[in-house]
Symmetry: C2
Subunit: 716 residues, 2 copies
């Protein structure tokens, strides 16, 4: 940025440090020496920057008080983090990051994720000062109110400038790993000598809570493994969490853990006013290019509040009028609420022109690139716009009943491999089950530290980290389509990240194999039962359970076309026949008639199946027809999609006059009353599975053709 | 154990190491020095043990081939881990652990958890050799078959001797943290000078997969924080996971990470045949009493198999007849399948008498203790038997409508505190939200390293670890009643451990507050919507959503009396009035009539509510009655409990002739069709929440008295 070319003397801020501040010493419980850990103290080194000290202090205090005032007005929120992190926030957004406030979606912007999402007033204040249209004065004043652009946690789908929805702790740092992965991947795919088209950093602020969550450890292990050198994480080491001092539950040596994970670690001792320390740490972090960097910044939560700083009481509620007043006095901030000094305003105003210039410059660079590398440029443009290549759907395989039976997990692999040929944005992998989930893209190698061009991701046994990383991938660039895989039952490990995908409108494809008791011997710990129901109940996520090849291809089609919601594909381990009547197109209706021997939309009975049990419904239908019944067989591959059809269509498939209905699905019957009605019968599994060969379990659990026939006769 | 007093020369085994074995070097990526990390090499030190080398080798190979043969017979399973871990398994069960095979539930036994549960044939082979009645010859031969005692993963509810159900990776090590926590807690509560009544170790074997999972990092951080010195974990460092060499996704320095977490770390370089190394490591681990120990044991997966050792192909499927033959030859094991040499049989047979002697000795010790410390002994006996103290239910608070409105999270705290006075087994805490979840037991301090007698657990922001630790607590001692807490939405982080609680029949109480949009400003990331439905769909877990003080107390009563299933209590952040008609006893029926103005079981309309929305149903009922309707208001606090009532009772509450039904619940309507029927109406929330004051969201989302009245008029 332009500012970095001019000069600034070191700011000094210690006169306003509240008396309750304490310096947290690293807990050293043994004698390991840290030869790599850089400790950055308030050093003598003077930085040359383009703004003067008082301006920085003014800006930092502006950020602090915008947060304090907004929380106070809402009488709800988290003032503590913004007050402690304002210095690093200021330096990042005013001195370091490259972005264009008037186009928050400029492709080559630096990314920033506030993993400690509760501190979102920090981010709103920074977006406001930087000149983003999404956060205006009135938005700060309607913090946490109905319909505002400034909700209680950052929401990417509400506020342009927010990269990802955070709040649930640990997710944001893992999202950031996904963002940094994409930068490394696309840079290696598209950059050419002298044409660094893809070139940005990913910054993240995470807190003690994020550090305690397992998901962050999973993702950070991968970040180092992948050598994501342009990922720079600020750990807001304020030693306070909701329950009080972190000493009560968190005494590990974080520096050493991150060293173990393979990160470069820097400690900034004075995050409250050590601007130069922070600047120096960022420079050092940028100089380490083969691994991510954790900058542990020791701060004081609620900095400046004489009675609440360094205490949990500054964390999650308004300071209260009296304490706000005391804080104003302590920080010498004799201004009305939401005040922004003119010099601060003027100073920050340059980001609009500078940001625009950055984008213009990049556009020029891209034009030169495009001239020289037409195909690459076109492909990258497609990824950026999110437009799917024309005719991509033709790559989807189709099947006929004559073709051999196969497991839908295998059919899924055919789809993935066919699609990878035509969709440059498709990339993904499995949590150490690639050979079981059948997720390898055969034409590509593994995305690794030294082979970042490749598109197979190896997540290790880290489902939760995988899910959160995929959310980051999905939101880096519109045209990227991340998929990830594990056994369906282990969605339990990653559910928090899947819910965030649904909430934040991430197009992630979950390839979930071994989708029922059909996996057999591994037993109940590995057999999903309630999982289908649990996703049907979740808003804005598609739960698809294809029955054969065509439905699997159709499920992929739906998953790719639904750009604003994730899709879960439940796939079988066991072989399934290709059925008559299935098609790619039918899947998008969610439920459709597979076969019918009735007339006038009045079958004697409707048999409804999903996935591996659709075959049972078909066979039972055949038997019943032999006995003279007019039978309709319906595939119910996705409830959500069926729900979205017109009433006429729904009536044409499930006429309300026909109450004789039987459903069969090797999972919980919970919810099926809606489909089969009070007079119908739902065949399913409402207990845990068992360890035995799959056929035996199916029989013992009554998931059989005979059971369907018997039930049909009961309800007819 | 008696064996430790006699002598044995060092076994030597290298002649059978397969050619594919490689030594894994620690990946050192920087210059940190490990002054504490002990590396144990095949040293010169000679151990004095009571068995000769060839016997150990024979025993180890017996274990290996029992696993190989059982997997081969089932043509399904995981031979690789047992073949690699047989040496540590042998040493643990034959030389180190104190247990009584004829009473797997002897209180003071050492605990063992196979966190890498897929390797369960190791454990079955060891239980078999040790003389447990649960695993006989025929059980080994019916491995992974319907109804066998040897399912595909270890199940505590199937096989006595298995402490906990494992398989989902990372859970077992976290369970073990719970077991070790209990040992430390009970020892400090009940032991007296000269009377070490509670005194055992907790051993665990975990693999690379467990190490990658976030849940293990969470739990291991706590284990060190709590100073669980009697927890000894063997890390089966075989460098192979399902997708191949762990190098593709797992290159962190585990030793250093564990040093960072605060563990003592030892490296056994030769886990395949370095018996003395393993023994020495265990002795060292025992000598470190202020922290847990991780013994990294480098092994070869599938040790002995000439063509599959050290490869993923040994991990998860039968070796195949040809390779089994080659392995027999390689390990010089010219025996038929399932063969146990006589000397091995004879040698292991002593565990029956020795185990019995250990328990008898302990019984004597306990008798002496009982004589001196009558009250303590009685209390501990109660905990061991699981019998609840007489009259405990009287401690439950009761409420009348005149009492002030209060949040059910506060009412929950009253229950917890009242119960903690009468239930010596109640202990628990929150994932850093004690002051929000209202879970502190006021008469106790925090369970910490130096205050292990206390009963408030501080889990930090580690929901998943918390859940898994509670499963360990629940299964250590029958009378222990662990509770744990977070915001209801964050059950997503710990769902895998909650499912395991349900499957393994753990009485854990989940105190889940902030149970709907009623939490307000924090917004959709913090507002559960689909969670109630998702637990209603899960087998063997009680989902309870109490509406006021009496129902909250009733929910606790149910949770405590249901010893073989966990309970989820969804509790409000906002204040709720105490309603007329609620009672502690009614809760156990799941659904019951709160008020009724109809006669002959024929109301005009039935209004059904749960939790915070029961109040809305009541108010709507009052209004409708004013208009002359015969209205029944039903509280539906737990679907599972209602389902278990007699048909007569159900008909008395929800007569099938009355189809005019309206339900209201601030959550997904998924599943409610079962209760309200096709002609009824379910009022709920089928999208994500929003950030705003709670009252505003309720209104905007149509969760109002007016909506109930309107719906009632539509369905009547």
């Amino acid at each position: 940025m332009a500012a970095s070319s001019s000069s600034l003397s070191k700011p000094f801020f210690s006169n306003t440090i509240p008396t309750t501040t304490k310096t947290h010493m690293i807990t050293t419980t043994n004698t390991i020496s840290f030869t790599r850990l850089t400790t950055i103290k308030a050093s003598a080194k003077t930085y040359k920057k383009g703004i003067d000290t008082s301006l920085v202090e003014n800006s930092v205090n502006t950020i602090r008080f915008l947060a304090v005032d907004a929380v106070e007005k809402a009488n709800s929120g988290h003032p503590g983090l913004p007050m402690g992190c304002a210095p690093m926030g200021h330096i990042l957004f005013d001195e370091v990051m490259r972005y264009n406030p008037k186009n928050p979606y400029w492709f080559n912007r630096d990314r920033f994720v506030l993993s400690a999402g509760h501190g979102c007033m920090l981010q709103y204040a920074l977006l406001y000062l930087a000149g983003y249209d999404s956060v205006k004065d009135e938005d700060l004043k309607s913090f946490r109110q109905w319909g505002s652009k400034t909700p209680g946690h950052p929401e990417n789908f509400v506020t342009p400038g927010i990269e990802l929805t955070t709040g649930p702790l640990g997710q944001g740092i893992a999202n950031a790993v996904g963002l940094a992965l994409v930068e490394k991947h696309l840079a290696s795919r598209y950059n050419k000598p002298g044409h660094e088209i893809v070139d940005h950093y990913t910054y993240v602020i995470l807190g003690d809570g994020c550090q305690m969550e397992g998901v962050s450890n999973e993702a950070c292990s991968l970040a180092a493994h992948w050598g994501l050198g342009k990922l720079i994480a600020f750990y807001d080491d304020n030693h306070i969490s909701i329950d009080g001092d972190t000493d009560i539950a968190f005494t590990e040596n974080v520096d050493r853990r991150f060293e173990g994970l393979g990160w470069h670690v820097i400690w900034v001792k004075n995050g409250n006013s050590g601007y130069d320390e922070i600047r120096e740490a960022i420079e050092e972090a940028k100089s380490v290019t083969d691994r991510p960097t954790l900058i542990r910044v020791t701060t004081t939560i609620g900095f400046g509040s004489p009675n609440k700083a360094n205490s949990y009481s500054a964390h999650g509620s308004a300071l209260g009028a009296k304490e706000v007043e005391a804080t104003r006095k302590n920080l010498k901030w004799a201004h009305e609420p939401f005040y922004v000094p003119e010099d601060v305003k003027t100073h920050w105003s340059r980001h609009i022109s500078e940001g625009s210039a950055l984008e213009t410059e990049w556009n020029k660079m891209f034009a030169a690139y495009e001239k020289k590398y037409k195909d690459d440029a076109a492909e990258l443009k497609g990824l950026i716009s999110g437009e799917l290549p024309a005719g991509w759907e033709k790559a989807l395989p189709t099947y006929t009943p004559e073709m051999p039976a196969d497991a839908t997990r295998n059919l899924s692999q055919q789809c993935l491999n066919n699609l990878a040929n035509v969709l440059p944005g498709l990339l993904g992998g499995s949590a150490d089950l690639a050979s079981s989930n059948m997720t390898l893209l055969k034409m590509f190698g593994d995305f690794q530290k030294h082979t970042p061009t490749e598109r197979n991701l190896r997540f290790g046994v880290r489902e939760h980290g995988m899910g959160a990383i995929c959310n980051g991938i999905a939101h880096h660039t519109k045209g990227l389509i991340p998929y990830c895989a594990t056994f369906f039952v282990f969605t339990d490990y990653m559910r928090a990240s899947m819910r965030l995908a649904a909430l934040s409108e991430s197009r992630v494809i979950y390839v979930m194999t071994h989708d029922s008791i059909g996996l057999g011997e591994d037993g109940p710990t590995h057999q999903p039962v309630e999982h289908i129901a649990s996703f049907r109940a979740m808003p804005n996520i598609l739960m698809l359970r294809p029955a054969d090849g065509n439905e699997t291809a159709g499920a992929y089609r739906v998953a790719i076309l639904n750009t604003k919601r994730p899709s879960v594909l439940a796939l079988s381990r066991q072989k399934l026949p290709n059925l008559t009547g299935t098609s790619i197109e039918n899947v998008e209706k969610g439920g459709y008639i597979l076969s019918d021997s009735s007339s006038n939309n009045k079958p004697d009975v409707i048999l409804i199946g999903t996935g591996s049990e659709l075959e049972l419904a078909v066979k039972a239908g055949d038997e019943l027809r032999k006995e003279g019944k007019a039978v309709r067989v319906v595939s119910f591959v996705s409830w959500e999609l069926f729900d979205e059809q017109s009433d006429e269509y729904k009536e044409s498939v499930l006429p309300s006059s026909v109450t004789a209905r039987v459903s069969i699905e090797a999972g919980s019957t919970f919810g099926w009353e809606k489909i089969v009605g009070a007079k119908g019968k739902a065949i399913g599994i409402d207990k845990f599975g068992a360890s035995a060969p799959a056929g035996k379990i199916y029989k013992e659990y009554g998931i059989t053709v005979e059971a369907v026939i018997e039930a049909a006769k009961t309800v007819c």
